[in-house]
C-alpha cells in the first residue's frame, strides 16, 4: 500500500470517528438543534410574516403577542419581521467571512508550518494582527469607507484569519515530524503533494472547528459593529435594531425590543459555538468533560 | 546462644510480630476501557504478598504485561479509564481499596511509596527539587519549613546530590533526577518502595549507580523493595525473590536464584533463553524455537501463553492454569505441573 493510500485510510477512519463522535456528543446535538430551529423559523418567517420590516404599523410599543411575536418598536415596526429580515445579511456576512478567513487561515497556517523560511513572516504578521485590538481597528476602518456588507466581510476576514492560521500551523508543525511524512519525502513525494494529499486532510478537522467558531464570532462582531453605528443604522439589521433599542427602549419600557433580537443573535451564535467546541473536544479528548 | 541461634530467634520474632504479611494482594484485577465497548484486562487476578520487612521482590514481564498496573494498584492510584474491578489489597491487614481519602493519604508515601516509570516527569517544572521534598516533609511529616528544608538537603545528599536543592527539575540530568526521585520516595521512611522501571531511560553507567543506590537503601533502611522491570538481568543481586508476569497474570514466583536456575513456567524459560551468556554455544542460538519468541497475542480462552508455548497440549487450550505452589516456596501457573 502506498504511503498516500495508507494515510488516507487513516484520515477516513479519523473523519469517520470524528463525525461519529460528533453525533453522539450532547452539546453538538443541542447546537445542531438550535441552528435547525433557527433556519426553520427564518425560512418560515420569510414567507409567513405579513409585515414589511420597514413598515410603520399603528401598533406602537406593543409587547409580544400572537400578531407580533417579538412585539413592536416605537414606530410600530414588527420586530419579528425585522429579525427575520436582518438574519439574511447577518448570516451572509457571517458565513462568507468565516469561509474567507478559514481559507486564508488554512493556507497561511499550512505554509507557515511546513516551510520554515516562510514561518517568520507569516506567523509574525498573524501575531501582529492578533495583538491589534479587533474592535478599534474595525471601527476605524469601517468608518473611513462607505459601509457595505462587502466591506464588513473584508474587515472580518482581516481580523479572523489569524487565530485559524495559528492553530493550523501548530497542527502542521506536529504532523510534519511524524515518520510517515518523512518516509513520504524520502520516497520522492514532492512538497506540494505531501501538503495536499497528506497534511491537508488531517488539518480539516481543526479547520472545520475554527470555521464554525468563526461564524459565531463573525455574527457577534458584525452585529456589534452595526450596534455602534458602523454601517447604516437606517438599514434593518440585527445590530441596528438594537442600536435603536439602545436609544429608546429603556425609557419607553419596551423590554421585548431588547430581548427578542438579542436572544436571537445569542442563540444562533450559541448554536455554532456548541458545534465548533464539540468538534474541538472530539479531536482533543482531554478536553472532554 | 550461638550467633546462628540468635539469628534464628530474630527471624522467628519477625515472623511472630508480623504474622500477617505486610502487603497482600489477593485476586486483584484491573480493567481499562479505551472506549465504551473496548475493555482490556490489564491485571488478571493477581495474588502477591510481601511477608515481612526487607523482603525484596522483582517483577518481570514484557511491556503490556500489567507490571505498572500492579504497582499503581498497590497505592490505589489506578485512574480512569482504568479501574480495579475485583480483589483486595491489604496493608498490615487494612484494606487499601476501601480506605477513605484521609486514610489513603496517610497510607501513601508514609507506608508505601513509588518511583514511577517516567520519573523524568515526576516533578512539577515550576517547583525546585528541594521544595518538592520539603513539601512532603511539611505536609505529611509535621516538620516546619526550615527543618524540612534542612532534611530535604540531607536526603539529597544521601543519594549523592550536593548543593542543588534550589535547582529546578529541568536543570538536573536524567540520572540525577532519578536519584532525586528516589530521595523523595524515601523521605517519609516507608516500609515498602515500589520502583517501576526506574532505569529504563538511563544509560548503563547511570543505571548501575541507581541500582547500587537502591541496594544500599534496602540494606540500611530494612526496606521492602518491589522492583518492576522488563530486563530480567538487572534483578540478579538486587532482589531475593522474583515474580514473572505475562498478559496481566503472574505465571511464576519464587526465590530468584531458584527460578533463574530452574525455570518452571515455559515463559520464564523463554525469557531466560533470550539472555545469552559468554558460554552460550551456537547450538543454543539455533535451537531456540523462533515461534516461541515472536509475540503471538495472548489466547482468550484457556492458558494465555498457549499460543506461544512449545509444550502446549489440549488442556492448555481449554482450562486456565491457576498459580499454585509446586514445591517449597515455588509457585507456578502451568498445567505441566498439575
Amino acid at each position: 500500500m502506498s504511503i498516500v493510500e495508507s494515510s488516507s485510510k487513516v484520515t477516513t477512519r479519523l473523519k469517520g470517528s470524528v463525525l461519529g463522535a460528533l453525533f453522539r456528543s450532547r452539546p453538538a446535538k443541542l447546537g445542531g438543534l438550535l441552528l435547525l430551529a433557527f433556519f426553520i423559523i427564518i425560512i418560515a418567517g420569510t414567507f409567513l410574516t405579513p409585515y414589511n420590516p420597514y413598515e410603520n404599523t399603528p401598533d406602537v410599543n406593543a409587547p409580544p403577542s400572537f400578531a407580533h411575536p417579538f412585539g413592536t418598536d416605537n414606530v410600530g415596526h414588527d420586530l419579528f419581521s425585522q429579525v427575520v429580515f436582518g438574519a439574511y445579511s447577518s448570516m451572509y456576512v457571517g458565513l462568507v467571512s468565516a469561509i474567507g478567513s478559514s481559507i486564508i487561515g488554512v493556507v497561511v497556517g499550512t505554509l507557515a508550518g511546513y516551510y520554515r523560511r516562510l514561518e517568520g513572516i507569516l506567523t509574525g504578521t498573524g501575531d501582529i494582527i492578533l495583538t491589534f485590538p479587533a474592535f478599534p481597528l474595525l471601527i476605524l476602518l469601517g468608518s473611513m469607507y462607505p459601509p457595505t456588507d462587502e466591506l464588513l466581510i473584508a474587515l472580518l476576514i482581516l481580523v479572523l484569519w489569524a487565530p485559524i492560521a495559528r492553530a493550523v500551523r501548530s497542527q502542521v508543525l506536529s504532523l510534519k515530524e511524524r515518520p510517515y511524512v518523512d518516509s513520504a519525502r524520502t520516497g520522492g513525494m514532492k512538497d506540494r503533494q505531501i501538503i495536499v494529499q497528506i497534511l491537508m486532510p488531517q488539518v480539516v478537522s481543526i479547520a472545520v472547528a475554527y470555521f464554525v467558531l468563526s461564524v459565531a464570532a463573525a455574527v457577534v462582531l458584525v452585529t456589534s459593529l452595526e450596534f455602534l453605528g458602523v454601517g447604516n443604522p437606517d438599514i434593518v439589521s440585527w445590530g441596528s435594531i438594537l442600536y435603536w433599542a439602545q436609544q429608546f427602549a429603556f425609557y419607553l419600557g419596551d423590554w421585548w425590543w431588547v430581548l427578542g433580537p438579542g436572544l436571537s443573535i445569542t442563540l444562533v451564535a450559541l448554536g455554532f459555538a456548541l458545534i465548533g467546541f464539540s468538534i474541538e473536544e472530539v479531536m482533543n479528548p482531554r478536553l472532554r468533560v | 546462644m550461638t550467633t546462628q541461634e540468635e539469628e534464628e530467634e530474630e527471624e522467628e520474632e519477625k515472623h511472630v510480630q508480623e504474622d500477617r504479611a505486610i502487603l497482600d494482594l489477593s485476586n486483584v484485577s484491573v480493567e481499562y476501557s479505551s472506549s465504551s465497548t473496548e475493555k482490556k484486562l490489564a491485571a488478571d487476578r493477581i495474588n502477591l504478598s510481601i511477608p515481612w520487612r526487607g523482603y525484596t521482590l522483582g517483577v518481570v514481564g514484557e511491556s503490556g504485561s500489567g507490571k505498572t498496573t500492579l504497582g499503581l494498584s498497590i497505592l490505589n492510584l489506578i485512574e480512569s479509564p482504568g479501574r480495579i474491578t475485583s480483589g483486595a489489597v491489604r496493608y498490615m491487614g487494612r484494606d487499601v481499596l476501601a480506605m477513605k481519602a484521609g486514610e489513603l493519604r496517610n497510607y501513601r508515601w508514609k507506608e508505601v511509596s513509588m518511583v514511577f516509570q517516567s520519573a523524568m516527569n515526576s516533578f512539577s517544572p515550576v517547583k525546585t527539587v528541594g521544595d518538592h521534598i520539603a513539601e512532603v516533609l511539611v505536609r505529611r511529616g509535621d516538620l516546619n519549613k526550615s527543618e524540612a528544608r534542612e532534611q530535604a538537603e540531607k536526603l539529597l545528599e544521601k543519594v549523592g546530590i550536593f548543593g542543588r536543592a534550589d535547582d529546578y527539575p529541568h536543570e538536573f540530568s536524567g540520572g540525577m533526577r532519578q536519584r532525586a526521585v528516589i530521595a523523595t520516595a524515601l523521605a517519609l521512611s516507608p516500609k515498602i518502595l515500589i520502583a517501576d522501571e526506574p532505569t529504563s531511560a538511563l544509560d548503563v553507567v547511570v543505571q548501575e549507580q541507581i541500582l547500587a543506590l537502591l541496594k544500599k537503601q534496602v540494606k540500611e533502611l530494612d526496606l521492602s523493595l518491589i522492583f518492576i522491570t522488563h530486563e530480567i538481568a538487572i534483578l540478579c543481586g538486587l532482589v531475593d525473590n522474583i515474580a514473572v508476569m505475562y498478559a496481566g497474570e503472574i505465571v511464576e514466583m519464587g526465590p530468584i536464584d531458584d527460578v533463574l536456575f530452574e525455570p518452571l513456567h515455559p515463559y520464564t524459560e523463554m525469557l531466560l533463553s533470550s539472555l545469552l551468556s559468554l558460554e552460550s554455544s551456537r547450538d543454543t542460538l539455533s535451537k531456540r524455537n523462533a515461534s516461541s519468541t515472536i509475540g503471538a497475542p495472548p489466547a482468550r480462552v484457556g492458558c494465555k501463553y498457549a499460543t506461544r508455548c512449545k509444550y502446549v497440549f489440549d488442556r492448555c487450550k481449554n482450562e486456565r492454569p491457576v498459580l499454585r505452589e509446586y514445591k517449597k516456596g515455588r509457585m507456578v501457573a502451568c498445567h505441566k505441573y498439575n
Partner: protein
C-alpha cells in the same frame, strides 16, 4: 534572554506597523487627507490652515511622513485637534479618558481571572461532574452572547426594573469630592465591570480549562497524588500553577480582547473612557480622535503583551537559561 529579545523585536515591529497604518489609512480613504484630518469642513478655516501646515498636508508624501513621525514622537504626541471637543488636542483628551477605561479593564481582568481560576480549581477537583459541565456550558454561552446585549440586559434588570444601580456615566454629576465621589465612581463601575468580566470570562475560561486538563493528565500530578497531597493542594498548587503559564503567555491577546470589548461596554453604558471616545468619533467622523485612539490602544496592548512575556520569564523556570 533570547526569548525576551524575540518578543521585544516583535513588539517593535507591531508598533511600527501600527504607526504606519495610522499614517496610511486616512490618506487612502475617499476624500482628501486634509479634509479627513481637519474633519471635513467642519472646522474654521484658520484651524484647517494650521493643521495643514502642521501635518504638511499639501506637501509630497515623504515630507508628510517625516512630519507625521515628528508629530508622533514629540511630547506629547500630536494627533491633531478633536472636532467634537474642539479645540482640545486629541492626546489630552485621550489621556483623560484612558484612566477611566483602565479602571474598568483592570477590575474586569482581575475579577474574571479570579473567577476562572476558582472555577477551574473546583472543576479539577470534581472531574466530570455537573459542576464542570455547567461551568463549561456557561462560558460557551457567555462567549456567544454579544457584549452589548449582556450590558443591555444588566441595565434592564438592575437599572430599570430594580432601580438598584446607575445605568450610565462614570460618576454622578453631583457627587462632589472625597468619599462621596469615590463611592459614586464605584457604584457606576459595577455594571460595566460585570459586563466586561462576563465577556472576558467566556474567552479566558476555555484556555485556562484547556491548560488545566493537559496538566491534569500529566505525570507530576500523579506523583503528587502518590505523595499523599490533598486534592486541594494538587488543584491549586500543581494543576493551576502550571496551567497559569499558557494563560499568561496569552496576556497580550487578553489585553487586546479586553480593550476590544471595553469599547462596546463603554458605548452601552455611556461610560466616558477611551472606548466611548472611539464610538463617538465614529459617529461624528472625528478622525483625529480615531487615529489617536487607535494608536494609543495598540500601544497599551503591546505593552501589556510585553508585560506578559516578562511575567512568563519570571514564572516559568524553563525559560531562564
Amino acid at each position: 534572554m533570547d526569548f525576551l529579545g524575540k518578543r521585544i523585536i516583535l513588539s517593535l515591529v507591531a508598533f511600527f506597523a501600527a504607526l504606519n497604518l495610522d499614517f496610511i489609512l486616512p490618506r487612502l480613504a475617499p476624500g482628501s487627507a486634509a479634509e479627513i484630518l481637519a474633519s471635513g469642513s467642519k472646522l474654521p478655516a484658520v484651524e484647517v490652515a494650521l493643521i495643514t501646515a502642521r501635518f504638511g498636508l499639501n506637501q509630497p508624501l515623504s515630507t508628510q511622513y517625516l512630519l507625521y513621525l515628528k508629530n508622533v514622537f514629540s511630547w506629547p504626541p500630536y494627533f491633531g485637534v478633536s472636532y467634537q471637543f474642539f479645540p482640545q488636542p486629541v492626546t489630552q483628551l485621550i489621556a483623560y479618558r484612558l484612566v477611566w477605561t483602565i479602571i474598568l479593564v483592570a477590575s474586569s481582568f482581575f475579577l474574571s481571572f479570579a473567577i476562572s481560576y476558582t472555577l477551574a480549581g473546583i472543576s479539577s477537583m470534581k472531574r466530570g461532574g455537573k459542576f464542570e459541565f455547567g461551568s463549561v456550558f456557561g462560558s460557551i454561552m457567555l462567549w456567544s452572547t454579544p457584549a452589548f446585549w449582556i450590558g443591555m440586559i444588566l441595565i434592564w434588570i438592575f437599572g430599570v426594573w430594580l432601580r438598584l444601580l446607575p445605568i450610565s456615566g462614570n460618576v454622578a454629576f453631583n457627587a462632589g469630592t472625597g468619599l462621596n465621589y469615590d463611592y459614586s465612581v464605584l457604584v457606576h463601575a459595577i455594571l460595566p465591570v460585570l459586563t466586561l468580566t462576563a465577556v472576558v470570562f467566556g474567552q479566558s475560561y476555555f484556555i485556562l480549562r484547556g491548560a488545566a486538563q493537559e496538566t491534569l493528565k500529566s505525570d507530576y500530578v500523579l506523583s503528587a497524588r502518590a505523595r499523599g497531597m490533598t486534592e486541594r493542594v494538587i488543584a491549586f498548587g500543581y494543576v493551576l500553577r502550571n496551567s497559569l503559564l499558557p494563560v499568561i503567555s496569552l496576556l497580550g491577546y487578553s489585553v487586546a480582547s479586553l480593550l476590544s470589548a471595553v469599547v462596546i461596554v463603554e458605548a452601552v453604558f455611556g461610560y466616558p473612557g477611551i472606548g466611548d471616545l472611539i464610538v463617538d468619533g465614529v459617529v461624528n467622523r472625528d478622525y483625529p480622535v480615531l487615529e489617536g485612539s487607535f494608536f494609543y490602544v495598540t500601544l497599551v496592548v503591546i505593552l501589556g503583551s510585553l508585560l506578559g512575556d516578562f511575567l512568563l520569564l519570571k514564572l516559568d523556570p524553563r525559560l531562564r537559561r
